[in-house]
């Protein structure tokens, strides 16, 4: 090959440089797809629920973290303004009927609307914490309703699920943990 031909090939190869850089970038982006930047495990995992003193929904008394501990339970963050909460509500009732203790955290809501909701749609909750200002929500790091926390008998947060709890989530994620924790509690 002549010298000028080689030179020509060299400059042709140079033109492949942008393509090469793009392939590298695309690989990184592809890798990025399988990583989840919002997967921030709750800072509270394996820590006790934050201290709080908030009114009970529809009852004239104050609740604190002692009221929601004692057995393995779910703490469900819900509100009447949350459409997805309406979606998960029937399934929560099924779980409650099956004997799973569920506590409610009524998040940034009005008491009247929340009570009407429970009257109309049924009440799966043992009791409800009325977090009108969202202060407990802030301490928990709630992104938005619905969220569900799995608490053990000592009131320690063991798992956090963001989004609707349905049959699938319960069977694959929450129930195995729930059974494990219940067993651990019964065989000290």
């Amino acid at each position: 090959m002549s010298a000028s031909g080689l030179q020509h090939m060299g400059s042709r190869l140079k033109l492949f440089l942008p393509l090469f850089l793009f392939v590298v970038l695309a690989t990184i982006l592809f890798r990025g797809l399988s990583l989840d930047p919002s997967e921030m495990p709750s800072a509270l995992i394996d820590r006790p629920l934050p201290q709080f003193s908030l009114p009970a929904l529809g009852a004239d008394r104050m609740l604190s973290s002692e009221d929601v501990s004692g057995e393995v339970a779910l703490l469900n963050v819900w509100a009447t303004w949350c459409i997805s909460c309406r979606v998960e509500h029937p399934y929560l009732r099924q779980l409650a009927d099956a004997g799973v203790p569920i506590f409610g955290l009524n998040y940034k809501d009005s008491d009247a609307a929340a009570l009407r909701w429970l009257e109309e749609l049924g009440n799966p909750y043992r009791l409800n914490i009325a977090d009108r200002e969202g202060t407990l929500g802030v301490d928990l790091g709630v992104y938005g309703a619905p969220e569900t926390y799995l608490l053990d008998a000592d009131g320690v947060v063991r798992y956090r699920h963001v989004g609707v709890v349905d049959e699938n989530v319960w069977r694959t994620v929450l129930e195995p943990l729930y059974i494990e924790l219940t067993r651990a509690e019964n065989t000290p």
Binding site: L15, P18, V23, A26, P37
Partner: protein
């Protein structure tokens, strides 16, 4: 029924775009003029069906059809009608339909307003745009159907539009931004068509220039509105956050700025051809990359859309096909041997090259900073974020570097200039600029070195432009004759560059001289800030169409005279329960006064209050508007229309010859 019609129209548009992507391209390859001639009518057909589809979606929103999942989750009966309409694009699915609509508009505009373009070129350009349409319409139809129904079990009322998006600025911000983003697809399509045809010449650059200018102008306005919205709506007085979503729109802007300048050299002097093609590909690729970053969830952002890895994968594959394909084409077809046209180092060409290098470095800087968290995460080194300090440290000096080039650019000559002449041209502007830089900030105590530099740079630019402008006016027999000889292209450049100077002043003065106080105030309290007295009068309840708010009243006095009455609000939206801060701003050319309410403190009616004094903040947005006006003005140049015909004949002859 209406949503189904919309869905069906979208599918029809998709089918037409497949034909547009293939048949005219095949015709251009085989020399079949019947197949090529189909391109314009297909383009218009796509526009018609996408418009029908968009209209149906808008109707579903306006009629509160909550059986449509998208409407149920992003609208509400209480929402004012205008926001019901803008809610169409206040979500992922609907914004894709808007994307498709704007792409269809650009495609049809190219088809309709390019009668002089040779059919061979036109059919290739439209086919490339057809390929992009196929990508986005299939994205919409396969992964993000906007017309999906919630049947049975349609809710009685919707979830409401995110209150942050219930704002006049956000009605037009996305459409403008998309006009810019998608508009770069035209420059991209022209570049690909030129590579396919193997002819990269001045006429190609001349056809691309007006389209690129218009797209760039829209993008400028879109980014400006986004910044303005963040300023008054997010409630903490910031106007730029180097957030991934902002960067996603800023990177194509930077690449596009390089592109318009390098197109000038390509058109006038036939230089930098491969480079210009690469920039056209780069600018549009960054638009696509922006779409990927915003919608795939690979990066977290303050205003991310509902994200979904499946959608991310789809865009990534599409990105790979479009960008990978075009870069392969570039590698194979771009002229490898540098053009025979030469230029001296002291010439306008080298200044444009300098501009290109600066903008490219700036783009890569922002790209790197945006992707850095992702790269680190992909390498398994944990989660980090690159904050504004990195961007500011790299970006600000780069922008300052541009100014000397901008002072010299308009007065410099093509091909060969001489350094002595440059020194002569620079003398007066430099002297005036240094004088201004030293003295002006003295007036505004305390002395601040950054402001002094900003004043120096902008007055340098201003005086340089003014001197050149004056010289050109005087070059005619009289001023009127001189004025007539100024081309729209030149005037556009002057306006846009002055806009840049205004931006520099605004950004630096605001960053350096802003004062903000976070205070606890009770009704009756008053505070001093930058010579203004803010008096907290009282708080009342007001009711809006879909929210209730606590509204504070503030009286602002200066030297015993009332200058403004400000009513910031703390709104609680009824449907979603979200609480929003609505800042109250008294705006002015030289300062903004900004009051925002925090949370109530204690029981005696006290509130956390944020007071801001923001000097010259408007100059930034005014500057951006001037840049956009400049770019629009430049497209009015008669040259594009006149010379297009002569080029047409040449290309036509060449095509027949082959």
């Amino acid at each position: 029924m209406i949503p189904e019609i919309g869905h069906f129209a979208l599918i029809l548009a998709f089918c037409l775009s497949i034909i547009l992507a293939t048949v005219p391209a095949w015709g251009a390859w085989r020399g079949n003029s019947v197949a090529m001639a189909l391109a314009p009518s297909l383009s218009v057909g796509i526009l018609v069906f996408v418009t029908i589809s968009f209209g149906c979606l808008a109707t579903a929103f306006l009629q509160d059809d909550f059986s449509v999942a998208l409407v149920a989750s992003h609208s509400n009966t209480l929402l004012p009608a205008i926001y019901k309409f803008s809610a169409v694009w206040g979500n992922h699915e609907g914004s894709l339909v808007l994307w498709a609509l704007i792409l269809a508009m650009w495609t049809a505009a190219v088809a309709l307003f390019s009668p002089q373009l040779p059919l061979l070129v036109l059919s290739r350009v439209l086919s490339v745009m057809g390929v992009i349409a196929v990508g986005f319409l299939s994205f919409s139809l396969i992964t993000s159907n906007p017309f999906a129904r919630l049947l049975p079990g349609a809710p009685a009322d919707g979830n409401d539009l995110n209150p942050l998006l219930q704002d006049p600025g956000l009605i037009i911000h996305p459409p403008l931004l998309y006009m810019g983003y998608v508009g770069f697809s035209v420059a991209f399509a022209f570049a690909i068509a030129a590579l396919l045809g193997g002819r990269l010449d001045a006429s190609w650059a001349r056809w691309s220039r007006p389209w690129t200018n218009i797209a760039w102008a829209f993008l400028t306005l879109g980014i400006m509105l986004g910044s303005w919205w963040a300023y008054y709506e997010l409630g903490w007085g910031g106007w730029w956050f180097w957030d991934p979503v902002e960067n996603a729109s800023f990177m194509p802007w930077l690449a596009g700025t390089a592109l318009i300048h390098s197109l000038a050299a390509t058109e006038k002097r036939g230089l930098f051809k491969s480079w210009t093609v690469l920039l056209a590909i780069f600018a549009f690729s960054l638009s696509l990359l922006g779409t990927f970053l915003v919608r795939s969830g690979v990066l977290t952002s303050v205003h991310a859309f509902a994200t979904d890895p499946d959608r991310g994968l789809f865009i990534l594959v599409f990105l790979g096909l479009v960008v990978g394909g075009s870069l392969t084409l570039y590698a194979v077809r771009a002229p490898a041997v540098s053009s025979r046209v030469s230029f001296a180092w002291v010439s306008r060409e080298s200044l444009l090259l300098f501009n290109n290098v600066v903008f490219l470095v700036a783009t890569l800087t922002v790209l790197f900073g945006t992707l850095f968290p992702l790269i680190v995460d992909a390498l398994g080194m944990g989660k980090v974020s690159v904050g504004p300090p990195y961007f500011n440290a790299v970006f600000v000096p780069l922008m300052a570097l541009l100014v000397p080039g901008m002072v010299l650019g308009p007065v410099s000559r093509w091909k060969r200039d001489n350094a002595a002449r440059w020194r002569g041209e620079l003398l007066i502007p430099t002297a005036v600029a240094v004088l201004c830089g030293i003295t002006f900030p003295l007036v505004h105590a305390p002395y601040n070195v950054w402001v002094a530099l900003a004043v120096l740079l902008s007055s340098w630019l201003l005086v340089g432009l003014a001197k050149d402008f004056w010289g050109r006016l005087r070059s005619g027999s009289n001023t009127a004759a001189g004025l007539r000889r100024l081309t729209p292209g030149y005037c556009g450049m002057v306006i846009a560059h002055l806009g840049f100077a205004a931006c520099v002043i605004g950004v630096v003065a605001t960053s350096q001289y802003s004062i903000e106080h976070d205070l606890k105030m009770e009704p009756g309290d008053s505070r001093e800030l930058a010579g203004y007295t803010f008096r907290f009068l009282d708080v009342g309840q007001v009711r809006g169409p879909n929210f209730i708010a606590d509204e504070a009243r503030f009286e602002v006095m200066q030297n015993g005279v009332q200058v403004a009455l400000l009513n910031p609000q703390k709104r609680r939206y009824l449907a979603s329960g979200s609480v929003m801060t609505e800042a109250a701003i008294d705006d002015g050319m030289f300062r903004d006064l900004f009051v925002a309410m925090g949370e109530p403190v204690g029981d005696n009616g006290a509130w956390a209050i944020r007071l801001h004094y923001k000097p010259m903040v408007r100059w930034m947005w005014l500057g951006a508007i001037m840049m956009a006006v400049g770019a629009f003005t430049a497209t009015l140049d008669k040259r594009y229309r006149r010379e297009r015909q002569t080029a047409d004949e040449r290309i036509g002859a060449a095509a027949h010859g082959v």
